[in-house]
Amino acid sequence: MKKELIYTGHSWDYDKLYRVMDACEEIAVNDMGLDCFPNQLEIITFEQMLDAYSSVGMPLMYNHWSFGKSFIQNKKNYNIGAMGLAYELVINSNPCINYLMEENSMTTQSLVIAHAAFGHNHFFKNNYLFQQWTSPDAIVDYLLFAKRYIKECEELYGSDVVEETLDACHAIQYQSINKYKRPNKLNAKDEIEKQRARSKYLQSQVNDLWRTVPTAKKEDENQLEKGWPSEPEENLLYFLEKYSPILTPWQREICRIVRRIAQYFYPQYQTKVMNEGFASFTHHYIFNKLYDEGRVDDGAMIEFFRLHSAVLYQPPFSSPNYNGFNPYALGFAILKDIQRVCTEPDEEDKQWFPHLADTDWRIAIKDIAANYRDESAILQFLGPKVIRDQGLFNLHDEFYYDNYIVTSIHDERGYKKIRKHLSASYETAAMIPDIQVTRADVKGSRDLTLLHESYKGKRLDKKTAQQVLFHVQRLWGYKVKLYTMHDETLLDVFECKQFSNAKVGMTINDPW
């Protein structure tokens, strides 16, 4: 049955956009069986896109000079043509906010709608990490709360101190994520109400901990002498927020804001490949379907393929453009391969994916979107065909070698190893150094000890480690040491060379 074209021509208008939304939704929901948040498309200018882009992709972020810096950078790169702008930006919120740039052609808008408004949207709503770690209902309100709170702090305490505090917090934001314990759901209304009570309570806790006037020995005093905290704390900002001897209540709140926002992004960088892969898979499927049904014309389809192949281009390692794996390409290749395995499996596939061969691909794909992150999805679903198609190979490197050694290539012996190594490179610990608070000398010097558990003997970059340590020291107020340990071996000790007594801002509510 031939249907009517939903649009023709290059330029977009609202009618066309609504028709495309409806057409995409029909396929996404009725055919693919996707389950999405309601969509809110927002038409913006390229400047606004750059703007959102520069504020970690959030529609309303608190103000900080670093966002100004990245805006300037992005704009410059954009102006000289060094950077193509992302076509799409989508916020994991309910309703799901999708940005469409006014400069985009109608086909680009349609691609973005299929990709983000249905692909990413479904992923956000269904992936277990997002379900566990984010609160799409509350994020926009929480950001609004954060923005206002920080603005108020600037008015009350001066923008310089606020800036310093934020700088210090930003430096350790990636070490301020709970990886195992599920965070409380965000709730902006509560947040504002509780914030008052919390700041008082927090300060009283801190005062107790740091009491210098001797009190009768309690039982936990013994604990303090044995070493405190008794369990290492993986969330640095959480620890500083709760226990730093020098921070004022509002600074503790800023620590909290920064770590809560960092936590919000935690699922994003664990699912980059699968999220983009799934969204690309979705737009690819929807567009082909639209074309098959005669709802988009040849011109639109040609433009679609041009865009699609540009976004999904994977330069080979030898290319000067090579900059790691393109998550869109890798994720798309894996999912496309799984679809093939489900619908037309060959002998090899039956051997590798016996549980998938000849099953409904829709169920398989949605299962991957819902229950895996990059590391586990690659480990389970990177098939031999993708490895062959992309010519994947593995180099082994020890820092004392003169050469890299090719340990595996795309052959029988190599498939599983390559898949294991590629998967491992998406482990959180491989990307972000794992640093924990192990000891705070509450009874004596007030020194703080951090431990970096080395991943495969990797050490920290010395210069940046030193700089970050300086920031931690500012938040803690006393000396901070950082040890890098690999197994039982001590690799490095970092300590700020000159300890500056310059704490973050003035301490109005100094416990002593």
Partner: protein, 446 residues
């Protein structure tokens, strides 16, 4: 599913009026101000300063604007790297590690620096306004004072209390109503509430007397009360009617008066030596200095006039354009410029009404016998009426023995008797901006 489309183009973000990026940009500029100023300073030497133009490129050091994070040192530990695009490697092959740069293995490992341009530098464009703001921040024309200018018909309208008469548009409602309330209290205007209460009581009594005859009513306590209330209400009503809600005596009007406005107006004399002894380089230095001054004055002050004077043996008042572009020359008699200035002052700029500033640039050469006349005229006629006199000498520094050709030295002698003269030396284009800042930096008010 309810899908919606919202146009956010016009106002940025509805929830966030005022562009996010512009706030963030100002924060960024504030943070890097020192670096920007240094960059401007460096670049001032290299090109001319124009008050117009689209934007100014600045390059600042990355120090202070890096955002450190804990990162892995790529040259440590063991690792396995999976890469795409194998063509001819087989298992067991050795591949040379890329050398050089020291920045890490291969540059293919997704290095942290995706920020383009130089390692330690950050370049971007300042808008013209941002540029000028930073350029002239903390600078002023010193000792500027307000002088009442009676000659100029300029008035400021200012509020000055209230009057009892005026035009209705200027009625001050708040004041009028306050008066009205006061008057009503004073005249014991009965409260509406009180009347209501009485009426209520009356109504109750009415119910009480429902279907009773006059005979039955007479003599009862309630009837007496009934009549009492009626009488009271009648009186209150009369009183209420007698006291008006708003009376003409309540009315107050905002009063405005015209005052001759004291204005800080100033005139700046630009005096440049264009004699033959001024080499091209000297003139270039002097012109750059004056361009900066001109930009400063025109950007920072609204009511400042400029007088441009060029001189060799003769001084000519000229237009701004001629001042910067004309190319005649001759011998040197510096006093001619000040004689002319004196005439102009007498003619157009009375010291009672104007703040007077002088900025003079020369290479220091003067006709020998002129020095005495010059110093005399500056000492007696110019400095006493001047707020601030700046002299800059351009070209190589001269030393004591070259007395005759060194105006700087002559002027230094004036510093003993006058506090409002400053002398500086500019040897090189790089000196211009620091010297300029030095001359016009904001001083503590004495």
């Amino acid at each position: 599913m309810a899908n919606t489309i919202i146009d956010r183009r016009k106002n940025g973000d509805m929830r966030n009026p005022g562009s996010k990026s512009s706030d963030n940009r100002q924060k960024f500029i504030k943070r890097t101000k020192d670096g920007i100023r240094r960059s401007i300073h460096d670049s001032l030497g290299k090109r001319s300063v124009k008050g117009t133009g689209d934007s100014q490129d600045v390059i600042i050091s990355r120090k202070g604007i890096d955002e450190p994070q804990f990162t892995h040192d790529p040259q440590t530990g063991s690792r396995d790297i999976v890469l795409p695009g194998n063509k001819d490697f087989v298992e067991g092959d050795h591949v040379m590690k890329p050398r050089g740069g020291g920045a890490g293995s291969g540059g293919k490992e997704g290095e942290a620096s995706n920020e383009g341009i130089g390692e330690d530098e950050f370049g971007f464009a300042l808008s013209n306004d941002e540029f000028v703001n930073i350029l002239f921040e903390d600078l002023e024309l010193p000792h500027m004072i307000s002088k009442e200018n009676k000659a100029v018909e300029r008035y400021e309208i200012s509020r000055s209390g209230y009057t009892t008469t005026g035009n209705p548009a200027q009625m001050n409602l708040e004041k009028s109503m306050v008066n009205s309330i006061g008057r009503k209290i004073a005249l014991k205007l009965p409260k509406l509430k009180k009347i209501r209460k009485l009426e209520e009581e009356l109504a109750n009594l009415d119910k009480f007397f429902y279907k009773t005859t006059q005979e039955q009513k007479d003599g009862t306590e309630e009837w007496a009360r009934y009549q009492e209330i009626e009488e009271e209400i009648r009186k209150l009503r009369i009183r209420a009617r007698a006291v008006s809600f708003v009376d003409p005596v309540d009315l107050r009007f905002n009063n405005f008066t015209k005052k001759p406005a004291p204005i800080s107006q100033a005139v700046v004399f630009f005096i440049m030596d264009v004699s033959a002894s001024m080499t091209q380089q000297h003139k270039d230095l002097a012109k750059r200095f004056f361009m900066l001054l001109n930009l400063f004055v025109s950007r920072k002050y609204k009511r400042v006039e400029c007088v441009f004077i060029r001189h060799h043996i003769q001084a000519i008042e000229c237009s701004e354009d001629e001042f910067f572009n004309s190319r005649d020359n001759g011998g040197t008699i510096v006093s001619s410029a000040f004689k002319l200035s004196k005439e102009i002052l007498a003619d157009r700029y009375s010291p009672n009404e104007w703040n007077i500033y002088f900025a003079q640039a020369s290479d220091g050469d003067n006709f020998d016998h002129d020095n005495e006349i010059l110093l005399d005229i500056i000492d007696k006629d110019i400095l006493p009426v001047t707020q601030y006199f700046s002299y800059i000498q351009v070209g190589m520094k001269r030393h004591g023995y070259y007395n005759s050709g060194n105006l700087l030295q002559e002027y230094v002698r004036l510093e003993a008797n006058h506090k409002n003269i400053i002398t500086k030396h500019i040897e090189d284009t790089l000196d211009i901006y620091p010297v300029f800042r030095e001359i016009f930096k904001i001083r503590d008010k004495e």
